[in-house]
Point group: C2
Chain length 476, copies 2
C-alpha cells in the first residue's frame, strides 16, 4: 500500500466557471464569487490552488471563462503559484469542462488520473481532503469514476444526496453509487441522513481513458466537441483558448446529468473534511467567525440590538439596528438587504435587475484589466473621474478617442506617457493633458504601482470610444 | 369678525435648531433634518416658509444655528423667499428661542402677535393651519399664549397630550389648557383620545409683551439672557449673530418646561390639519406614497417579496429581499438598516457612533460652504479627489497650504484663478497646478455653476491645513 500511495499522482483541473449570482452584489459576471475573498484575504480559487499544492498532485490546470483570464493570472501570481490556463470563449456547464479535462489529460498519458475540482468550495480539513483524494485516486486507477461525497452534518435541503452500496475494493472507503437523488425536502433529508446517504459535492476523480470511454458512450456530443475544442484551440500569450464553435456544439449540462447518473462506474468516497460550496450569503455567514449573538461583520459594520446578522461592507459604514436574521452587503454601487432564510432568492433578484438592464447586475465599478484596474469615482453630465492603477512593467494600449479629452494626474509612482510623437516621464504630483484625437499610451516603467486620477471631459464618455493601435495584450 | 380677521397680522418666527439625529444617516449636525427634502423636492424648512407666505403673516424671522447660516440663505434663495436670519452661536432649546422671538418682536411693536413655528414639521392641510392660526392669533391678542393642539388620529405614544378646559372667548375654538401631560403608554393614550385630549404640537402664538411678562415671572434667566443676546448681537453680512456669552446664560430647556406648564395664560387651539413632526424614519415612511404592500422608495431602490419597507437611496442601487417592516437608508458614506418598530433607537445608535469618533455620525461627505459645496469622491494614502461646485459670482478665500499641492481641472463653467501674482481664466477642460505654499484663490466670474475636480497630493491633507488671507464671508 505504501508503494501505491507514493506512486499515485493526480492531475488537478480547477473549474472556474459559474457566476455565483446568489452572492450578488459582490459576485457578478465581471467578478464571480470564486475570485472574491469571503474569508481571510484569499479567494476560494486561491484557497483551492493552495490546497492542491501537495505531493499527491501535479501542477494544476485551470479552466476559466475568457473574460476572467487576467483575473486568474493575477490571483495565481498573488499567491506565488502557476498553472496552465485553459479559456472557454463561451460559458458551458461542468459536463463539457470535464470532457475538456479528460482530453487534455489523455494527451499527457492515456491512463492519467484526473481530479476535477470546483474553484468555489471551501474545505476546512486539508488532511481529510488529501486522504479522500488518495482513496478516490486508487479506485480511479481501477476504472471507477469517483465523486467526493460529504458525510452530512445536518439534514440539509440544499444539496443532492448519494445512496452508497458496496466497497469497490477491499479495505477501500470508496463505495459504489446506488443512486444520485435530487435536493430533498426536510423529512426526506432526515431519512437520507439516517440511511447514511452522503452529500454530492460535485468534485470528481477518474482515469482519463475511462472518462473518455464513458463520455463517448453516454454523452457523445460532449466527447466530440471537447476533443474538437482542444484540437482547434489557439495559444494567446500565456493562455490556451478553446475553439468557440466547437464548444458551442456541446450541450450546456452538468456532468451529473450528462454522465454520472448513467454510468455503471460511478463510485463515491465519503469524507468528513468540513466542506461547503459557499452557495449563498447564508453559507458565508455560517462560515464566518460569529459572536455570541450569531453576528458577524466583515469590513465597516455596526450591529445594535440584533442577532444572527451578517454585514459585509468594504468602504461605507453599514449599521443594522433591531433587525434579526438579516444579511446586509454594501458595495460601492449596490446594497442588498436580505432575509437570512431566503438566501437562494438572490438569483431571481439578479434576473430581475438584468431584465431592467441595470448595470449593477453584471458589472462592478472596478474593472480589472491585464495592466491593472480602473474604477469610476465620480460622474457628471460631461465629465467622469477614474482612479487608475497600473502594475509595474505594464502598459495600456496605444489609443485615441474621438469624443473626450483626458487629464492625468499622477498621485503615486511614475508614468511613461506617449502623446503623439513625444514620450515623457510624469512623476508623482505632475499632470499631463491629452487633447481629443491625440494618440496616447500610458506605461508604468517603475517598480511600484502607478496610481493616477484621470479626469475625462467631453460630450460622450463611453468605454467604446476607443481606437487601439497597438496592445501588449492582443486586444486590438 | 371680518374686520378682525383682516387686521390680524402674525409675525412668524421659524425655529431651525435641532439635530434630528433620529433621521441619521441623512440628518446629521452638519445638515440636520429640517434642511433635507424627505418628500418632493423641498425641505420641511422650505415647506414651512412657503406655508407662512400668506396675508395672515408678516415676512418671517428665522432663528438658526450659526453653522447653518449659508444653508438657510441658500434654501430661501432656492424658493425665491427672503427672511431676517438670526443666528445662535451655541445650541439652546426652544425656551431661549421663544425668548429671543418675543424680544425681537417687541422691538417692532410691544403688542405684536408672534407665531413661533418649528422648521421640521409637515402640515398637509394649509387652509386648516391658517384657520387655526387665525383663531389662535385672536386669542393671543386677548393675552393668551396659544399652543397648536392636534386632534389625535390614533392613540400615539410618541407625543405629549394636552387636557383642554373652557373656551377662552365666546365662539372660539381656543380653550384653556387644564394640563400638559407626558408621552403616555398605549392604555393611557387610548383614554386620552377618548377624553378628547389633543397632541401638543409645540408651535406657539402669543403677544410679545405677554410672553415677556410671563418669562420674566416664570423664567427670568431666559428673559434676561435673550434680551442681552439681542442687545449685544452683531451684524455679519446678511445675518444677525446673537451674543454667545449672553446666550450661554440661558438654561437649555424647552418652552414647555420653562413656561407653558406654569403660566395661567396657556391656551390651546385644536386643529386637524394633517400634522407630523417627522420625528423618525417611521414617520417619513408613513408620510410617503406607498404601494399596496406598504412599500415606498425614494431614489434607487428595489423591493422584492417584502412588505412595509421604506428605501431611501440617492445614488447606489439599494435592494431589499424578503425582509418585512424594515427601513433602509443609503447615503454615500453610511447605510442604516432599521427595524420599523424601533425607529427612535437611531438616536442611541448615533450616540454610539459619536463615542467611537466616527465622522459619519456628525458630518456628511458633502460640505456646504457660502460659495457652494465640495464633496470628497476618492481618497488614498497621499491623495484626495474632490468635486467642487462654485456658485456664479462666488469666490473662495485667498489661501495657502503648507502640506499639499492641488490640481484643478475645470469640467463646467469658467474659473478665475489667482496664483501668487497672476490671475488667469481657466475654461472647461483646462487645468491649473497650485504648488505647495502658493497663495491662491478661486472665483466663479460666470453666470452658471463652476464645477471642477480637485486632486490634492501631499503628506497631510486635513482641512485645517489652510491659511486664509482674505475671505468674502468673514471666515479669517
Amino acid at each position: 500500500m505504501e508503494h501505491n500511495r507514493a506512486r499515485l499522482k493526480i492531475l488537478p483541473v480547477i473549474m472556474c466557471g459559474g457566476n455565483g449570482t446568489r452572492l450578488w452584489p459582490e459576485s457578478r459576471e465581471s467578478l464571480p464569487k470564486q475570485f472574491i475573498p469571503f474569508f481571510g484575504s484569499h479567494s476560494t480559487f486561491q484557497m483551492t490552488v493552495d490546497m492542491l499544492t501537495h505531493d499527491l498532485f501535479e501542477a494544476p490546470i485551470v479552466i476559466a471563462n475568457c473574460s476572467h483570464r487576467f483575473l486568474v493570472f493575477e490571483q495565481l501570481k498573488e499567491i506565488g503559484r502557476s498553472a496552465e490556463i485553459i479559456l472557454e470563449p463561451v460559458q458551458r456547464d461542468s459536463g463539457p469542462a470535464v470532457g475538456v479535462a479528460a482530453q487534455l489529460a489523455s494527451q499527457r498519458a492515456r491512463d492519467a488520473i484526473v481530479g476535477v475540482f470546483a474553484a468555489d468550495h471551501v474545505i476546512e480539513n486539508r488532511d481529510g481532503f488529501i486522504d479522500a483524494c488518495q482513496a478516490a485516486g486508487r479506485a480511479a486507477g481501477e476504472g471507477f469514476i469517483v465523486t467526493l461525497g460529504i458525510k452530512p452534518s445536518e439534514p440539509a435541503t440544499g444539496y443532492g444526496y448519494i445512496k452508497r452500496g458496496e466497497p469497490v475494493l477491499e479495505d477501500s472507503e470508496v463505495r459504489r453509487v446506488v443512486a444520485f437523488v435530487e435536493k430533498p425536502d426536510l423529512a426526506t433529508a432526515e431519512q437520507y441522513v439516517a440511511d447514511d446517504y452522503v452529500w454530492n459535492a460535485g468534485n470528481f476523480i477518474f482515469r482519463a481513458d475511462v472518462m473518455q470511454d464513458e463520455l463517448s458512450q453516454w454523452a457523445p456530443k460532449i466527447y466530440r466537441s471537447s476533443a474538437d475544442a482542444i484540437n482547434k484551440s489557439i495559444s494567446d500569450l500565456d493562455f490556451v483558448v478553446l475553439d468557440k464553435n466547437a464548444l458551442l456544439q456541446a450541450p450546456k449540462v452538468s456532468i451529473d446529468y450528462a454522465l454520472m447518473e448513467h454510468t455503471q462506474r460511478a463510485a463515491v468516497v465519503a469524507a468528513n473534511f468540513g466542506w461547503s460550496d459557499v452557495g449563498n450569503w447564508g453559507a458565508v455567514h455560517e462560515l464566518s467567525t460569529r459572536d455570541d449573538h450569531g453576528n458577524a461583520v466583515r469590513g465597516h459594520g455596526l450591529i445594535v440590538d440584533a442577532s444572527n446578522v451578517y454585514i459585509r461592507s468594504d468602504e461605507q459604514l453599514t449599521t443594522v439596528l433591531g433587525v434579526n436574521d438579516v444579511i446586509v452587503v454594501t458595495t460601492s454601487d449596490a446594497v442588498l438587504v436580505l432575509d437570512g432564510k431566503q438566501c437562494n432568492k438572490v438569483k431571481h433578484l439578479v434576473e430581475t435587475l438584468k431584465t431592467s438592464n441595470r448595470r449593477e447586475a453584471i458589472e462592478h465599478r472596478r474593472s480589472h484589466r491585464p495592466w491593472g484596474y480602473y474604477q469610476s469615482v465620480d460622474e457628471g453630465s460631461r465629465y467622469q473621474v477614474k482612479r487608475i492603477v497600473v502594475k509595474p512593467g505594464a502598459r495600456l494600449s496605444l489609443q485615441k478617442h474621438f469624443h473626450r479629452a483626458e487629464h492625468w494626474i499622477v498621485v503615486r509612482g511614475t508614468a511613461e506617457v506617449t502623446r503623439n510623437n513625444e514620450i515623457t516621464l510624469i512623476h508623482e504630483n505632475e499632470s499631463i493633458y491629452l487633447p481629443i484625437g491625440s494618440v496616447h499610451r500610458m506605461a508604468n516603467p517603475g517598480r511600484i504601482d502607478l496610481e493616477l486620477i484621470e479626469v475625462q471631459t467631453g460630450s460622450y464618455l463611453g468605454e467604446d470610444d476607443i481606437i487601439r493601435f497597438e496592445d501588449a495584450y492582443n486586444r486590438l
